[in-house]
Symmetry: C2
Subunit: 230 residues, 2 copies
DNA sequence: TCGCGTCAAGAGCAGTGCTCTCTATTTTGA
DNA sequence: TCAAAATAGAGAGCACTGCTCTTGACGCGA
């Protein structure tokens, strides 16, 4: 290890620095990341970047993976930092953490959840990190169910195909979660994504001055739909 | 009119053709629309396009406006084509129309609701067309309220800032709509946007094979939250 | 110390948005 | 009617992009 490691270490540092510079560019210039600009910022010639990332998309993928992890960390930490029995508090904390992260990293959020780049297909290793936020949310529901604080909504007659699809998802991710509860959890996650996107993409610029309160109230409505006790 | 109209007519036809070709390019190549490619497709030189659209952004804006109108037309027509008294049917029809339009025009949907292009700011005349779909949705709620089929949810204690913001929105768009109902309508609209985006951007590719049924069930959940009678 | 592998640099290709100039055509006004 | 004005398209050119290929220098293991 000692011999080759000096070169390997430099290489790892270069990769990190490129990602850092790219993230900075992303924050200021938005999604149209320019490899040449990154190289210029690093005092390199553009072709040298290709020693570290075979294409622009690969650099973007690396940034996407880091972003997913950042968001996942934030959401999970917020959930973990709240009293396990306070289901509604955990829901709100997780939602707020996602929003806070998005507001702090708008360009990275747009990279994750904005319109997909035409030629670009997210590689498979983004799937798992991408599931962390919604998994945290439905994890709250599962905890509520197991300790009796939350009841599966009854009277929901899920159409059989929907029930089957949701059952498959539940089997893979959170065994034992009733499909009706998973459906409502996913509605909450879907609405959370919509809330953040609307705010970040400027859709309630003029309409809603009190963003924090509006956000909490909207996520609270979904908590009501799910049946999280007040 | 006859004198200048021949040239004016040709000009109008050119503008239409450019937009049509651009829309075609948008559908195949995604959001990164190339003026030069459009010009090439029309047998023109790229600089000639600038006689009709002063910049690429202006062409995009024209496409955005048409897209908003197409979506607005679809949603309003679906609502108008349903029995006025069938609130839930109207809700589902409007939601489905939005989804169908999005699935039929994915690139245009991404243009409207995807991540904003960094340098690009939507001009003010997009605001009104953009409001048509959510307005149609809350219009259903207003109708239900006036004919007694829908009650404003009580027990909702909206935080004062949220209530004030929503009251202002209601005053400008749909006078008389209680803030609590508007809040739930916006939750529904937000979730609808999330649903369509998730589906279109490939987020439930593997997870949900039965998209139609899932969609209807999810929008039905929001109808429940709003209180639309079954 | 020698040779292999890695690295940065530079030139170059094809593409982009956009500007400017030049020429041909159409429209307009006296 | 006929010249002046407005408009249209073509072409060259600028600065930029992602990416490839070649060249020469350097570090590293044998």
């Amino acid at each position: 290890m000692p011999a080759s490691s000096i070169r390997a270490r430099v290489r790892a540092e270069m990769i990190d620095e490129i990602k850092a510079v790219a993230r900075r560019h992303l924050a200021t210039d938005g999604a149209n990341l320019s490899l040449r600009a990154v190289a210029r910022d690093m005092g390199m010639v553009s072709s040298a970047i290709y020693r570290y990332f075979p294409s622009r998309d690969d650099l973007l993928t690396a940034l996407i993976l880091e972003a997913y992890d950042g968001l996942g960390d934030a959401v999970e930490a917020a959930d973990a930092g709240t009293d396990r029995a306070d289901l509604r508090g955990r829901w709100h904390a997780a939602c707020r953490a996602a929003r806070d992260w998005a507001l702090a990293h708008p360009a990275e959020y747009a990279l994750l959840y904005g319109s997909p780049v035409p030629g670009y297909a997210a590689p498979d290793d983004t799937v798992l990190p991408a599931q962390r936020p919604p998994l945290t949310l439905v994890g709250i529901l599962r905890d509520g169910l197991t300790d009796g604080r939350l009841a599966a909504p009854d009277g929901d007659e899920l159409p059989e195909p929907v029930r089957a699809d949701l059952a498959e998802i539940a089997a893979g991710l959170i065994p034992g979660l009733p499909e009706s509860l998973l459906a409502r959890g996913m509605a909450g996650w879907t609405q959370l994504f919509g809330l953040i996107s609307f705010e970040l993409f400027g859709r309630l610029n003029r309409a809603i001055p009190h963003r924090d309160e509006y956000f909490d109230h909207q996520t609270g409505l979904m908590a009501d739909l799910i049946g999280l006790p007040r």
